[in-house]
């Protein structure tokens, strides 16, 4: 994967999800899918068309959906449960905690429409705290893929791993970073570009921007390492500590609140193992607003340029 640059091809991670679900459905009859009246948006409808007997649209009743999934899982089914991130984490927090995390049942919560790139629907539908909430639950694995290819691999890996998973996907089309040869393993972050001056750790849609920022930095003679931290929990401590040791400065980038997400997870690792100057690019402690995804990413500080400037600041601190 070394030396990867962002391609011009774009695809929404939710589209990759729907496509992979159908493949999994053909391979494993225990895969069942639940949705709460958002299946055309989450793309689970594709599964529903091919496997109507294993697809349950429960209506606008997310709490019930989580309990149903838990019950199905006790009987050997592998439920994939989808709705928007704001509902999949906040609306049903207690159901997920009680019926899925505490029980350690084999339920896969795949939430689409994470972050502010939801856009025009506004803050009621833009979830920027789901990773924080889900990361705090014992037994829960938390994954945020960065592109469509990685999403396909992650969904597959999720089906194979036994236990609860929260996966966060996005609404808009995003650049494709990987090709099919990607070596994806849950809990193992991917080194995308090597570098010794500082490390940029990204997750989700910010990984592509981290690569672009690294290109800009290289024009100034700064050699940045870029790592895709697709699994926020369990976090890949080794690659993070090594990055800190090798480079001496870290920037995290996520389309999530700077409270509780990737930035927090990385800070927790570094402060206990190898503290270095560190800056977090992410949504500040505020709700966003309605606008296009691109406008919001600019307004709320989630651009290539924001990562670039954070990197410069981190380098300053390093001196």
């Amino acid at each position: 994967m070394l030396g990867k640059t962002v391609k011009t091809e774009v695809m929404a991670t939710r589209d990759a999800y729907g496509k992979t679900l159908v493949e999994l459905g053909r391979e494993n009859k225990n895969i069942v899918v639940l949705d709460a009246d958002l299946s055309s948006s989450t793309r689970t409808c594709v599964f529903g068309e091919e496997f109507p007997e294993r697809f349950f649209n429960v209506g606008i009743a997310e709490q019930n959906m989580m309990g149903l999934a838990a019950g199905l899982a006790t009987c050997g089914k592998i439920p994939f449960v989808s709705t928007f991130a704001v509902f999949a984490s906040g609306r049903v927090y207690n159901q997920v905690r009680q019926c899925i995390a505490y029980t350690n049942l084999n339920v896969k919560i795949v939430a689409t429409h994470g972050g502010i790139s939801v856009g025009e629907d506004g803050p009621s539908h833009q979830c920027t705290e789901d990773v924080a909430v889900m990361r705090a639950l014992p037994n829960m694995t938390v994954i945020v893929p960065s592109d469509a290819i990685e999403t396909g691999k992650a969904v597959r890996a999720t089906a194979e791993q036994v236990g609860p998973v929260y996966m966060r996907l996005g609404r808009p089309k995003v650049p494709v970073i990987y090709d099919e040869k990607i070596d994806f393993e849950i809990g193992k972050a991917i080194l995308l570009k090597d570098g010794e001056d500082l490390a940029i750790l990204g997750t989700g849609i910010m990984v592509a921007k981290a690569l672009e920022a690294a290109s800009l930095l290289s024009e100034e003679g700064v050699n940045a390492r870029v790592i895709d931290v697709h699994t926020i929990k369990p976090i890949d401590q080794d690659i993070i500590v090594k990055a800190a040791k090798d480079t001496g400065a870290v920037v995290t980038a996520e389309e999530h609140s700077i409270i509780g997400g990737l930035g927090s997870a990385v800070a927790e690792v570094l402060v206990e193992s190898y503290p270095v100057p560190m800056l977090r690019v992410g949504v500040k402690d505020e709700f966003a607003e309605s606008a296009s995804a691109e406008e919001l990413l600019i307004r709320y500080g989630l651009t290539t340029s924001d990562i670039f400037h954070a990197a410069k600041k981190a380098l300053e601190k390093k001196k």
Binding site: Q63, G71, C75
Partner: protein, 291 residues
């Protein structure tokens, strides 16, 4: 094992069947009296727990575990076993005593209720207690889980049934009614719910706090087959559980009219015993009544 006895009883003539049921009911009532003692002893011993709501549902649990349900304590993972979910998880002392009596774990474990390293948590934990099918305690979720189990049975064309016991205060939770609609949508006739209608919840009377009546009409309107019984009459309990199995195309709700604290005069219909164990002195008086 119990399923075998039941099918034999169906082959008897009506009069014989009645006699058999009387004898069976008497036996189960006797067992339930012992379970009431165990519930009170274990909660007083540990100094906490929910005795009132345990006593209101113990007759139903006795009927389910000692006679009606098809289950095998020696093989708790048996795929075709009937499932039971205690949605009102705080009544777990009642579940623990019937599980211990069935042989899922030694009865001496009951004295370890709610203590450090115990297999018996303050609310049911499926990963710690053999025989517990689902971890519950946060109210309003057990019916959804039971629907999921019943749905899995339908998908795989299995013969097992799913039982779930709800509290009446519990149905204040909107989640319950979401599940009620799902059960009707998918025609889950392999699902029997029992509602422990003791008319009290933690802060007082259900009809004062969040009025539920007319409860049977509500469930009927949600597409369920509804039966009302005296939840302390063993023959009514057994009969309603049998009847529910004959219904096709819809789930059954058995509204069991019960008395909180049933069996101990000073506990009956008293909200203070919802979440408070008896003192040692009270326990002695209670055990005297339950001889």
């Amino acid at each position: 094992m119990s399923r075998r006895i039941r099918s034999e009883s169906r082959q008897l003539g009506p009069e014989e069947s009645l006699l058999y049921n009387e004898e069976l009911a008497r036996k189960l009532v006797e067992k339930a009296r012992g379970f009431r003692r165990d519930i009170l002893i274990m909660t007083t011993n540990t100094g906490s727990g929910h005795p009132g709501g345990s006593l209101s549902c113990i007759d139903v649990l006795t009927a389910l575990y000692l006679h009606h349900m098809r289950h095998d304590p020696k093989n708790p993972g048996w795929e075709d076993r009937d499932r039971f979910v205690l949605s009102k998880g705080h009544a777990c002392p009642a579940l623990y005593v019937v599980l211990a009596d069935s042989g899922y774990f030694p009865k001496k474990e009951l004295s370890r209720l709610r203590k450090l390293d115990s297999i018996l948590q303050g609310h049911p934990d499926m990963n710690k207690t053999p025989g517990v099918e689902m971890s519950t305690g946060s109210l309003g979720q057990g019916l959804s889980v039971a629907c999921g189990m019943a749905l899995a049975g339908k998908i795989d064309n299995r013969s097992y049934r799913v039982y779930v016991l709800l509290g009446d205060g519990e149905v204040d939770e909107g989640n319950v009614w979401e599940a009620a609609m799902t059960a009707a949508k998918y025609g889950l006739d392999n699902l029997t719910a029992i509602l422990d209608r003791n008319r009290l919840q933690l802060d007082g009377a259900t009809e004062d706090i969040c009025p539920l009546d007319p409860l049977p009409n509500k469930w009927r309107a949600f597409g369920w087959n509804v039966v009302e019984i005296d939840g302390h009459d063993m023959r009514e309990i057994l009969g309603s559980l049998d009847e529910a199995e004959k219904v096709r195309g819809k789930p059954t709700m058995i509204i069991a009219h019960t008395v909180k604290g049933k069996g101990v005069s000073f506990m009956e219909d008293q909200v203070k015993y919802h979440g408070t164990a008896l003192s040692k002195e009270e326990l002695e008086r209670a055990l005297e009544e339950l001889k």
